[in-house]
C-alpha cells in the first residue's frame, strides 16, 4: 500500500506570532519555520506502518511556495521515499488544499492518506475531513492509535468525552493527534541522504482546479492582553483575595 502524507510548513510552535503593523497578517519574514508538529506525527505513523510491513512507498506532499521544499526535505530525512511540492505563492484555503491533495492521491493511487489534525498556524482543523469527503473515502480524525488489517483499520480517536474506537474501510483519510506517536529525530546522514531523494514540483495552475479563495481576510489583529496581576505571599492571602477581592469562591 502506498501512503500519502500531507505536510505543512508553519511558524515554529515555540515562537510567538507577531501581527504586522498594517494588520494584514502575521509577520513571517525571517521567522523560524518548521514542519507542523501534527504532520510529523502523521509521517512518523506512515514510517511505522512501513516498518510493520503494512505500508510500502511513502510520499510526502505539500502545497506551498517559497521554502516549502525545506519542509519536504525534512520529511525525506525522516524517511519518506519521495516528495511532491505543488507550487503556488498564493495562500490557499483548506478546501482548495483538499482539492489539490485529492488529485495527488488519485494520481499516485495511494491506499491511505495521513494528515495532521490541525495546522498550528491557521488552526482550521479541516483539510483531512474535506479530503475524505472529496475522495469519498472513510474518515478517521484525531487518531491516537491506528491498526490496519487488510481492507479495514481500527482507529482510536481522541474526542471531547474521552476515547472513541471506530472501524473504517480502506482506503481512508486519517488525521494524527499528538499522542499517536513520538516522531523520530533526524540524524545528519539522513539529511544527506534526503538530498538525493526525488522531489517533484507541479505548478498549481497546471492542475486546472478551481482553487479560488472564498474568504477574504479583512484584518488580522492582536487580541487584548491581560492586565498585570499581583504576587501573593501566602496561601491565606490568596484565599482572602479570591473570597473578598475577586469574589470567585
Amino acid at each position: 500500500m502506498k501512503i500519502l502524507v500531507c505536510v505543512k510548513r508553519v511558524l515554529d510552535p515555540q515562537v510567538k506570532a507577531r501581527v504586522k503593523a498594517d494588520e494584514s497578517g502575521v509577520d513571517l519574514a525571517n521567522a523560524k519555520m518548521t514542519m507542523n508538529p501534527f504532520c510529523e506525527n502523521a509521517l512518523e505513523e506512515a514510517l511505522r506502518l512501513r516498518e510493520a510491513g503494512v505500508g510500502e512507498e511513502i510520499i510526502v506532499a505539500s502545497v506551498g511556495g517559497g521554502k516549502t521544499e525545506e519542509t519536504l526535505r525534512h520529511g525525506l530525512a525522516m524517511g519518506a521515499d519521495r516528495a511532491i511540492q505543488v507550487v503556488t505563492e498564493e495562500t490557499l484555503e483548506p478546501l482548495a488544499i483538499a482539492k489539490v491533495l485529492k488529485q495527488v492521491a488519485e494520481q499516485e493511487s495511494v491506499g491511505l492518506v495521513l494528515a495532521g489534525k490541525q495546522a498550528i498556524d491557521d488552526d482550521s482543523n479541516q483539510t483531512a475531513q474535506m479530503l475524505s469527503a472529496l475522495l469519498g473515502w472513510s474518515q478517521a480524525t484525531y487518531c491516537s492509535e491506528i491498526k490496519i488489517e487488510g481492507d479495514k483499520a481500527t482507529v482510536t480517536r481522541e474526542v471531547d468525552a474521552g476515547l472513541e474506537t471506530i472501524e473504517v474501510k480502506m482506503p481512508a483519510v486519517m488525521s494524527a493527534d499528538l499522542r499517536l506517536n513520538e516522531p523520530r529525530y533526524v540524524k545528519l546522514p539522513d539529511v544527506m541522504k534526503a538530498k538525493r531523494k526525488p522531489m517533484d514540483k507541479i505548478e498549481l495552475d497546471s492542475l486546472g482546479l478551481d482553487t479560488a479563495n472564498r474568504l477574504t481576510t479583512l484584518k488580522v489583529e492582536e487580541p487584548e492582553g491581560r492586565a498585570a496581576g499581583v504576587i501573593v505571599n501566602s496561601v491565606s492571602e490568596l484565599v482572602e483575595k479570591l473570597r473578598n477581592e475577586a469574589k470567585v469562591i
Binding site: E93, S132, W137, I166, V220, V232, L238
Partner: protein, 309 residues
C-alpha cells in the same frame, strides 16, 4: 436569512455546546432551525424544541446516524443545508469532525471556531493559538461555521415552542463503523462548563498526586483539568487536556498548579475571568497571565489551600 444549527447530543440530551451555537445564529439574524440526527433521539428533539428562539426542529431518526459518523451525517447535512444561508455547529470534536466533511461536499469553505459575528458574512476567528484574531468575510452562498462556545452565551434551554418535523434522507455510506467509547469518569464536574477549574501540569509528578487537586476541586465544586505534559506523562486521561489542541475553556476561576504556561496551554485558558498560578519558579510564563501568583512548592501550597477552604 435562515440558520440551520446541527444539534450535538448523545441520543438522550442536547449537549450544552449547542446552546452557544444557537446564540451565534441569533446574532447572525433570521430564522433558526435545528437538525437532530441520531437513533432513538426523540427526547433530544423534544428538548431541542424548547430552546428559546428556535422556529423548527428537523429530526432524522435512523440507525445510520446513531453514532454521528461523519460520512453518513454529512450526507444528511448536505441535503438539508440547501435551504439555508448559514449552517452552524459547535467547535467541539463533534462539530469539527463532521462540518468540514459536509462543507467539502457542498463545495463551500468552512469558517472555523468563530469568536464574534461582525455581520452575516463577516466573522472573527483566532489563529496562531489565539495570538492573532483574523476578521474574515465569506463570499459563499452557504456559510459553514463552527462556533467557539466560550465566546457566546448559552441560549435559554427553556421557553421556546418550536415545531418538530420528522425527516428522512442521508446515505448509509457503509464506510465506518462505531466500535466503542471509553469514558473515564463521568461523575466529575464537566470541564467545559465548570465555573471553577483546578489544573495540574508536569509539576504534579504523578497521577496519584492529582488526588490533591481532586480534593480541592471537590470543595470548590470545580472540575479538574491538565496540561498536555500531564496527559502525555499518563497522569490523567486525554479529555482533561486544556489548550490549543485540547479544550478551550473560560471559567470564572482557573487555578494552574505546576504548569509553566506555554503558548499552547494559554490558548486554552487565558480567557478565564480570574487566573491563579501556583509554581515554584518565579520566572514561569504563567505568572504573566495570572491575576494572583503564588511562588511556592505545590506540595506544600496545595494541602494548605485544601485546609483553608
Amino acid at each position: 436569512m435562515a440558520n440551520l444549527v446541527i444539534v450535538e447530543h448523545d441520543n438522550n440530551e442536547v449537549a450544552a455546546a449547542t446552546l452557544h451555537a444557537v446564540t451565534a445564529a441569533q446574532q447572525i439574524g433570521g430564522d433558526i432551525d435545528l437538525l437532530v440526527a441520531g437513533e432513538n433521539c426523540g427526547a433530544v428533539a423534544e428538548a431541542a424544541a424548547k430552546i428559546a428562539g428556535v422556529s423548527s426542529v428537523k429530526v432524522a431518526d435512523d440507525a445510520k446516524f446513531g453514532h454521528h459518523l461523519a460520512e453518513n451525517l454529512a450526507t444528511l447535512i448536505v441535503e438539508v443545508a440547501a435551504g439555508y444561508s448559514h449552517v452552524l455547529a459547535s467547535a467541539t470534536t463533534f462539530g469539527k469532525n463532521v462540518m468540514p466533511h459536509a462543507s467539502a461536499l457542498l463545495d463551500k469553505a468552512q469558517i472555523s471556531e468563530i469568536v464574534e459575528v461582525k455581520s452575516p458574512d463577516t466573522f472573527v476567528r483566532p489563529i496562531y493559538a489565539g495570538n492573532a484574531l483574523a476578521t474574515v468575510q465569506s463570499s459563499d452562498s452557504i456559510k459553514m461555521i463552527t462556533v467557539r462556545t466560550i465566546k457566546f452565551e448559552a441560549a435559554a434551554a427553556e421557553g421556546g415552542s418550536a415545531s418538530v418535523e420528522a425527516i428522512s434522507g442521508g446515505t448509509d455510506t457503509g464506510l465506518s463503523r462505531w466500535v466503542s467509547q471509553a469514558v473515564s469518569n463521568n461523575d466529575q464536574v464537566d470541564l467545559t462548563s465548570a465555573k471553577i477549574v483546578v489544573s495540574g501540569g508536569r509539576g504534579m509528578q504523578s497521577g496519584d498526586n492529582f488526588s490533591m487537586l481532586h480534593s480541592v476541586a471537590e470543595k470548590l465544586g470545580a472540575a479538574v483539568g491538565a496540561s498536555r505534559a500531564a496527559v502525555d506523562s499518563g497522569f490523567v486521561p486525554n479529555e482533561l487536556q486544556v489548550g490549543q489542541t485540547g479544550k478551550v475553556i473560560a471559567p470564572d476561576l482557573y487555578i494552574a498548579v505546576g504548569i509553566s504556561g506555554a503558548i499552547q496551554h494559554l490558548a486554552g485558558m487565558k480567557e478565564s475571568k480570574v487566573i491563579v498560578a501556583i509554581n515554584n519558579d518565579s520566572e514561569a510564563p504563567i505568572f504573566q497571565v495570572a491575576d494572583y501568583g503564588l511562588v511556592a512548592d505545590l506540595f506544600e501550597a496545595v494541602p494548605e489551600l485544601d485546609a483553608a477552604l
